[in-house]
Symmetry: C2
DNA sequence: GTTCGCATGTAAAGAGTTACATGATTGT
DNA sequence: ACAATCATGTAACTCTTTACATGCGAAC
């Protein structure tokens, strides 16, 4: 039974066979908004997946280049991926939100010090939203060979967009409240 | 310079002096939606805060009860809290979202297996939203002595509410897409 | 000749969670 | 008697991140 990291790699390898290096690159260009992996995670995980016969490695030699170990899913790997997709998902509530923590104790700060932090939070989500929108616009054009996958990828983009929009609204409301609290009126 | 945990405890102690046990209890009843601490974190952190003279402990003896170590902020503690509130916030993007990971590879699963997972995600947020609403309704009534803090606490509730509403919308849209994909039509 | 990109990995440090240890009182 | 609550802490463990090690080729 692979770990969550294992399933992430199995999923990525379902797109096409890849090396550990490629996996890192692709993850950073695709699912990075909700999933990150480093080499320190990828290489040992690939080894474990191979030991479980869920992936197979093949060596590619290139003259005057480092060898590449290209991994592809085995039939058992496909099976494990499908089995995982069917399992109920443990939703981990992401705890630890520093800005909320600060706002919770906001009474002891001035609006002038809190407002920029809220504005920055807003800017981050505004920027993210534009990134999501841009990606959505190019998705089909950039990856015509994955047309069957694109609708699913769009779902994950919409998730991010919804959150960004919600956060922008919240920032505006929060900024208004903070401004009102400092208003002498 | 305290850690993030340290600031969370300083903030809590700004409400009123407390023991480590009380801190855990109060955190679990107030900021648990965006901040969690266990005893394994609280007690060592209190020790560190005391070593930095940001808090002071006083011993309370109770006949036939364990001693209580009640901590309160020192003047330096108040200063550290205010200084932290002014610092720019490092927004940590919470990475690792298993449901999105599954949906990303959703092509290899049937809508029938993905839909319940989306529905469960929706139910969680629906439930959370109702909790937030209930808390908001009782907040002032339950804590009249913290009337000056309540507006800030409400801000953090609204944050949660916005996210829940966004997620409910997203789930509905996602469910619709999944149903359409399995429709023979 | 120095840096950047390809390519694979290991080791150590840091953070976080969970389980355990203790011990008294109060309620069932 | 037995479980639960109050109360403080430690130890172990896992999980994650970061830094390091290596080496070649191509570009600047």
């Amino acid at each position: 039974m692979p770990s969550q990291h294992g399933y992430a790699l199995l999923g990525m390898l379902s797109l096409h066979p890849m090396s550990g290096y490629d996996l890192k690159e692709l993850i950073d260009r695709s699912i990075r908004y909700f999933w990150k992996e480093g080499y320190g995670q990828i290489y040992p995980t690939l080894k474990a997946l191979e030991a479980e016969s869920l992936v197979m490695r093949e060596v590619e030699h290139h003259a005057g280049r480092p060898d590449r170990f290209v991994y592809h899913l085995t039939e058992q790997g496909w099976e494990a991926l499908r089995a995982w997709l069917m399992q109920p998902t443990f939703t981990i509530t992401p705890t630890r939100h520093e800005l909320l923590l600060k706002l919770y104790f906001g009474r002891h700060a001035s609006a002038a010090t809190l407002l920029p932090q809220v504005e920055q939070y807003r800017a981050i989500h505004e920027h993210l939203l534009q990134q999501y929108n841009a990606i959505e616009g190019h998705l089909l054009h950039d990856h015509p060979e994955y047309a069957a996958d694109v609708p699913y990828w769009v779902l994950t983009l919409h998730h991010g967009q919804q959150i960004c929009r919600a956060m922008i609204l919240w920032c505006d409301e929060t900024a208004q409240m903070l401004r009102a609290s400092q208003d002498p009126a």
